[in-house]
Amino acid sequence: GSIAPDRSPWNDALKEIGREWEAISKGLVKLKIYPGGIAGSEEDTIRKMKVGTLGGAVLTNIGLTKIYPDAFVLSIPFMFHSEKEMAYVMERLNPIFEKQIQEKGFKVIIWTMSGWVNFFSKKPVLYPQDLKKQKLAFSTGEPAMEQAWKKSGYHIVPSDLKDLMMALQSGMVDAFYLPPLIAGSGQYFPLAPHMYSLKVAPLVGGMVIMDKIWQRIPENFKQPMLDVVTRLSDKLAGETADLERKVLDSMKKNGLIIHEPPSDSLMKWKEAANKGMDELIEKVFSREIYEKLQQILQEYRMKNAG
């Protein structure tokens, strides 16, 4: 199960993985792919894996959080500043996560970062107070996060992604945060033409398979199968980055205005986000993992400061 639409680079990569796995395992492993969310939402997909209807799934970090809540630290807003920083953190946290997830009965095949989420709004946004004056759509299935945004002082309107267009038109919402690729392909940006280039949160996702199924695969096939996924995921990362650049260019031609963050703004965003943090610590993820993350980030920033 995957929520990536048919005829998207993600789905092409999945098909490719399916073909190669079948070849490696000499026909023992076959992937049947359900693209475009036809197997249901991420939560639904996870339940289907648990009851044995689906063998595996491609999930975003929100879905992974449903399996293993501590994974949510990777989605904390304004926590990470760059790809390199993110890679440094994931390199250190992923082994912990993968082990915990395995204890829940899932095998992580791959878990990577594939871009960032940005704000799009009707009126320009540079500082938190600019966003607080607009109604922000919240469409991901994480109620604690919704509460955290509310606590931080934002005007949150819970809304379904498929109603976002109408919600923007009718004035029910004025702003949303999505990966630029989706904002562009959903044609939402003409209604909210101001994009803020400050990175809100990384877009993390991956592919998991039920551990029971993974255990049944002969050992000698496993490493080649994982290698295929790593190779294709690097290729995919390149393709999506190209695609994102193209989409951003075409959006700019069609009236998208990109605002660069002033130097003192990140501090302000973090301050506001901290107000909502106690809605997440010990409610979604453990304090332990949060402190661990802080420590790793500090380590990286110390190393790279001097």
Partner: protein, 623 residues
């Protein structure tokens, strides 16, 4: 042992639970609106609360519906001898008991396997909330068993349904054992191969039996749920998926709107709102040729938008309108035909339930669907109005003078009811409330108007009103929940892909495709109710629509307009049944009365099908 007081207590508890869940369901979204508007915050976890309140309401509602023996079924009037009828009834009780038992085991296994023990919504463990599913099914299984006729003999056969249902759910039992008593798991696992054999060999005969007994009164939810269940069993897939699909559907985003608007409709229909609206439209239109009939059409439209496709319109105002029309020189056959035909005519206008369910199922924006339905809906209403004017002129029906004083008094009298659609449309399309929030506002508004302003409904009568609408809420949600399983099977078996491939190879003209679509939907509408049809047929037509480049909103409107005709087509036509009951006319005569109206509606449906702009024109305007 004292059984009766215990049963009575249980019944009271069930009613209380239904009552509480629907009031909380109205309260949470309402408070969310207030909190958002005035305090820029919201209610913690309110979305999760409302979603799971619907789950509770659906299963308590379905159990109550079983208790009252009011599940939607096809029931033709079978002309068999009483002895044979009683035997058929034993078989249907057996099947109902067996499948409810099987569903109960599967949902028990589902809740143990899909949710961790620690998962909570606020302070409530999720597993305990979802427990309403197996408990609801067990209760239904017992009630179906108790409804079996024929003394010890009939009861004996029906009671074997428990055993048979358990056998059908053996895989689920094994999974339950693995979680709860791992020591026993081997025993259950040992029998799994035997159980797979059963699934393989019994699937086809049971599916045939379900389809046959559907005509003899097995509820639609058991038929569709059972077919989906047996198909999954045939392919050896885990049957917990049936429970998962039901759960997923019931906690989806817009589903809470269904009980909310249905309850609103019942509050209106149990008050004197119908009489006030009749007075209003009569005062405003009766100077016009066909004025009374136009009045009837508008009252029906008003009611249908709220009560959706439930047939409540005819029950609520059919009798009154028929009385007024016949009093105004309209012939009985015209009046019955008109009212039956217009009993579902508001189907495309907000906040109609089928449009919402279509949007949920087809993943199309519900707002877009409502915008797309405006013009086709108006054309449908106008077509009926033209018939009325034509009939009135031809039969020289007396017109009344327009009396300003009466019109003013009538407007004053029905002011609060007329304001209701205005509030909903303004709130929803004005971007103030979401669909679910609009439903919550509608319930509370209707309560205030009918209980406190007009005082038509006494506060202590509210449980009675709610109990009256429970069979619609519980019945419809049960169909949607179980048909979702069949719907997922269709997707899983890649039937839409195969159908699309076949169509791609064999049909090359968009117009031929549309014509075939109309014909097949018309036939679907003859045999299926609108809710089942949405769940089962929509996954098939969506890829076909894409193939021929039909706008998703246009496709949705074509589908719904065709299904609207289904209310009037034999053998299964909900409006025909209800009208026959309300107007005290044999079905055969009603077919004849309705036929001319049906023809005109078919013409309108063809118009809607071949002029896409009617459905999509306003969309562009809104952008």
């Amino acid at each position: 042992m004292q059984v009766k007081p215990f049963l009575k207590f249980g019944k009271g508890l069930e009613n209380l639970l239904a009552f509480l869940s629907i009031f909380l369901l109205a309260l949470f979204p309402f408070l969310e609106v207030i909190a958002r508007k005035f305090f820029h915050t919201g209610i913690r976890n309110s979305t999760e609360y409302t979603h799971h309140l619907v789950l509770i309401l659906a299963f308590v509602g379905a159990a109550i519906t079983t208790r009252e023996n009011k599940h939607l079924s096809l029931t033709l009037n079978l002309k068999f001898k009483p002895r044979i009828l009683s035997r058929i009834h034993v078989v249907t009780s057996f099947l109902n008991t067996a499948f409810c038992t099987a569903f109960a085991w599967c949902s028990m296994s589902f809740l143990l396997n899909a949710f961790d023990a620690g998962e909570k919504i606020a302070i409530f463990p999720l597993r305990w909330i979802v427990m309403v599913m197996p408990l609801g099914y067990v209760l239904m299984a017992f009630r179906f068993f108790r409804q079996a006729p024929g003394g010890a003999w009939g009861k004996g056969i029906a009671s074997s349904g428990f055993a048979f249902g358990t056998l059908l759910a053996w895989g689920a039992l094994a999974n339950i054992a693995q979680v709860l008593v791992p020591a026993w798991a081997n025993f259950f696992d040992a029998l799994i191969p035997f159980y797979h054999q059963i699934g393989m060999h019994l699937a086809s005969p049971i599916i045939v039996l379900l389809i046959l007994t559907a005509l003899a009164g097995v509820p639609i939810f058991v038929v569709l749920g059972g077919i989906g269940y047996m198909l999954f069993a045939h392919t050896g897939q885990p049957l917990e998926v049936v429970a998962n699909e039901a759960y997923s559907l019931l906690i989806s985003h817009s589903i809470p709107a269904i009980p909310l608007f249905t309850f609103t409709g019942f509050i209106l229909s149990e008050s004197k709102a119908g009489e006030r609206l009749v007075r209003l439209f009569k005062a405003v239109f009766s100077w016009f040729p066909g004025g009374l009939a136009i009045m009837a059409i508008l009252v029906c439209t008003f009611f249908t938008t709220f009560t959706g496709a439930s047939g409540v319109t005819i029950l609520a105002v059919g009798g009154l309108l028929s009385y007024v029309l016949i009093g105004g020189q309209y012939k009985k056959n015209f009046s019955s035909g008109l009212l039956t035909a217009t009993g579902s005519i508001g189907l495309l206008f907000p906040p109609s339930l089928p449009v919402i369910i279509y949007g949920v199922t087809a993943q199309t924006s519900i707002k877009d669907m409502f915008v797309g339905g405006i013009v086709p809906g108006i054309i449908m209403v106008m077509a009926m109005v033209l018939v009325a004017i034509f009939y009135a002129s031809k039969n020289k029906i007396r017109r009344e003078h327009f009396v300003f004083k009466e019109a003013y008094a009538a407007i004053k009298d029905s002011f609060w009811e007329i304001l209701l659609p205005v509030i909903i449309i303004w709130g929803y399309f004005g971007g103030i409330t979401t669909l679910v929030e609009s439903g919550a506002v509608a319930v509370l508004y209707a309560l205030v108007v009918e209980v406190f302003i007009h005082k038509d409904i006494k506060f202590r009568d509210l449980p009675r009103v709610l109990l009256k609408c429970m069979p619609i809420i519980g019945g419809v949600l049960a169909i949607l929940a179980l048909a979702k399983g069949l719907s997922y099977y269709i997707v899983d078996a890649e039937i839409p892909m195969q159908l699309t491939a076949w169509v791609q190879n064999n049909i090359h003209s968009k117009y031929i495709f549309l014509l075939l679509l109309n014909i097949s939907l018309l036939i679907t509408g003859c045999f299926m109710d609108i809710f089942s049809a949405i769940m089962v047929v929509v996954p098939l037509i969506i890829p076909l629509g894409n193939l021929f480049g039909i706008h998703p909103v246009h496709l949705g409107i074509i589908f719904l307009a065709n299904m609207e005709l289904g209310y009037l087509t034999p053998p299964v036509g909900l409006n025909l049944f209800l009208a026959s009951y309300t107007f005290n006319e044999p079905l055969r005569k009603l077919y004849k009365d309705v036929f001319p109206f049906l023809l005109i509606q078919i013409v309108v449906v063809l118009l809607i099908t071949y002029v896409p702009l009617l459905s999509t024109g306003l969309l562009a305007f809104f952008k």
